[in-house]
């Protein structure tokens, strides 16, 4: 029992990062209809940039800020010069293009920053929280707590933006009906650009959150890409917040699963579960229905 509680508690921080990653994938997919398989590597570019700034300035907040800004600009560039001209391509074509981006960013990072894995500081390095129980203590690292708080605050901010600001409602409107959005004068191109930028910026933040564990290296977010996609599958691609919920479920499931199956097999088993979910209920566990691009 305690193992399960420990599993749940340590699963939440992981789940938050999966959920945010899923959020950024779902945000771009829902708004623009493109599933971005390069999202992890876009985030990685931002993290590398931030890491570089960290080297120059030694200031963690500045590093994170510059990384996020870099990610935002990357989003603008990708949307404006790659995605906008081809926005009526087939799913297959789009898929291959984002896979191409993934490859390009992998090697670009290697060429610019080398193949080494660099360490990155934790956002909050304090003493871990320890709860003593009769059998065995439950341990939560301080960074995990900080990470969870950052993640949840970010989710709330995103929820507020999407729910109540004009631009947020407009982006939901654009996702639901393009023609409707255009007749009321919404500049759909700009909304798409914002979705790309915001999505990549979130991926950069996720990158910073996991950088202490994964180190800064070209494929640091490859696994998170897969987990993010899985979070989307669980939560349904229709809603970004479904993805966050899916991410939390996934994180907890992953850690709790280790109680019952050998640690090494947990990923394989989760992925098989994901295929089952995808096949049985493609719209996700939480979503009511899903909209696909015609």
């Amino acid at each position: 029992m305690l193992l399960i509680i420990q599993g749940i508690l340590s699963g939440i921080p992981a789940g938050v990062t999966y959920g945010l990653m899923g959020f950024s994938i779902a945000l771009i997919f829902r708004t623009t209809g493109v599933m971005n398989f390069a999202i992890g590597h876009c985030g990685m570019m931002g993290v590398f940039f931030g890491w570089m700034i960290l080297g120059f300035t030694n200031s963690l907040p500045l590093a994170i800020l510059s990384g996020v800004v870099f990610g935002w600009i990357l989003g603008v560039v990708i949307e404006r010069f790659l995605m906008r001209p081809i926005n009526n391509m087939s799913h297959g074509g789009m898929l291959i293009i984002t896979l191409g981006l993934l490859f390009i960013f992998t090697d670009a990072a290697m060429l610019i920053w080398g193949t080494e894995a660099y360490p990155f500081p934790e956002i909050y390095a304090g003493a871990p929280l320890i709860f003593n129980t009769s059998a065995q203590p439950i341990i939560i690292s301080a960074n995990d707590v900080a990470l969870t708080i950052v993640g949840l605050v970010l989710s709330v901010i995103l929820a507020l933006i999407l729910g109540y600001t004009k631009i947020g409602i407009a982006s939901r409107a654009r996702a639901q009906d393009v023609i409707g959005a255009r007749v009321v004068g919404i500049n759909t191109d700009r909304i798409d650009m914002i979705a790309w930028s915001a999505g990549i910026a979130i991926a950069v933040i996720v990158g910073f959150l996991v950088a202490p564990k994964e180190s800064v290296q070209p494929n640091m977010l490859l696994n998170l890409l897969i987990f993010g996609l899985v979070a989307c599958v669980l939560g349904g691609f229709g809603s970004p917040f479904g993805a966050i919920a899916g991410g939390l479920v996934l994180g907890v499931l992953e850690k709790v699963a280790t109680v019952f199956v050998p640690v090494d097999y947990r990923l394989a088993i989760i992925l098989f579960i994901v295929i089952a979910v995808l096949v049985l209920k493609p719209s996700g566990i939480f979503a009511k229905h899903v909209k696909t691009r015609a």
Binding site: R172, R182, V183
Partner: protein, 240 residues
């Protein structure tokens, strides 16, 4: 108010509108009539700047021609720029945002133009049903209410000129009466309307002038009253 010269709309190989010129003057209701697939909706799309062909690598859609609105050449303007000038389209098939609330839908109507707080009362006074249901999602509305919402949303942007595409489509006779009553009210307020309607006789009755479209080309133009008594209309519709 609006003057269109040689409008051409092509979707790939299909030429939907083939070089039409027409105009809408101050305070007028002008109807565009024609069989289904004659190019009426494409005409409105072309005028509203809905077909965005700029910077698209693989798009084969083409819009050509000169569109002058309030003395300004808006042919190169984007859709949002046209909306900002007050040239508003209420599209065919409602095109509401199904998973936004009715209030949010109306808020989106005032996205580019129009004061939300001022206009919302006007729209609610026209369509009291919308006020009752303002926090419900749009997809919970019936067909007629959705049409009200679509018209209401266009009115939110304080139109200088309004283009309506099939506002009575799929509505019951009572609701059709209601819609046409609203159109007359708008006319009284001095808003010119470019109207595309299936219900030819109804729309001619409230119109000042009308154009008849046949396979993408304007074949006839006259006073609404004249057309109402004309055999040409019957030909365009029933092929007699």
């Amino acid at each position: 108010m609006l003057e269109v010269q040689n409008l051409v709309v092509k979707y790939g190989a299909v030429q939907a509108v083939k070089g039409n010129s027409f105009a809408v003057r101050e305070g007028e209701i002008v109807s565009i009539l024609g069989a289904n697939g004659a190019g009426k909706s494409s005409t409105l799309f072309g005028v509203a700047g809905m077909i965005d062909t700029r910077g698209k690598l693989f798009s084969k859609d083409v819009v050509e021609g000169k569109i002058v609105f309030q003395g300004q050449d808006i042919s190169d303007y984007s859709n949002s720029k046209r909306v900002k000038m007050g040239l508003i389209l209420c599209p065919e098939g409602r095109r509401n945002f199904p998973e936004l609330t009715i209030k949010e839908n109306l808020k989106m109507g005032a996205y580019c133009r129009g004061d939300f707080n001022k206009k919302i009362d006007f729209v609610y006074s026209l369509f009291p049903r919308l006020k009752e249901r303002q926090i419900q999602l749009a997809n919970s509305l019936s067909g007629g209410e959705q049409q009200m919402l679509a018209i209401g949303r266009s009115l939110m942007s304080d139109p200088v000129m309004l283009m309506l595409d099939e506002p009575s489509l799929g509505l019951s006779p009572v609701l059709i009466d209601e819609v046409f009553a609203v159109l007359v009210k708008l006319k009284e307020k001095g808003i010119p309307i470019l109207l595309v309607e299936q219900n030819a006789i109804r729309s001619l009755k409230i119109s000042d002038r009308a154009y008849i479209l046949e396979t993408g080309k304007i074949v006839h133009e006259d006073k609404a009253q004249t057309i109402l008594n004309d055999e040409k209309l019957k030909k365009a519709y029933l092929g007699l």
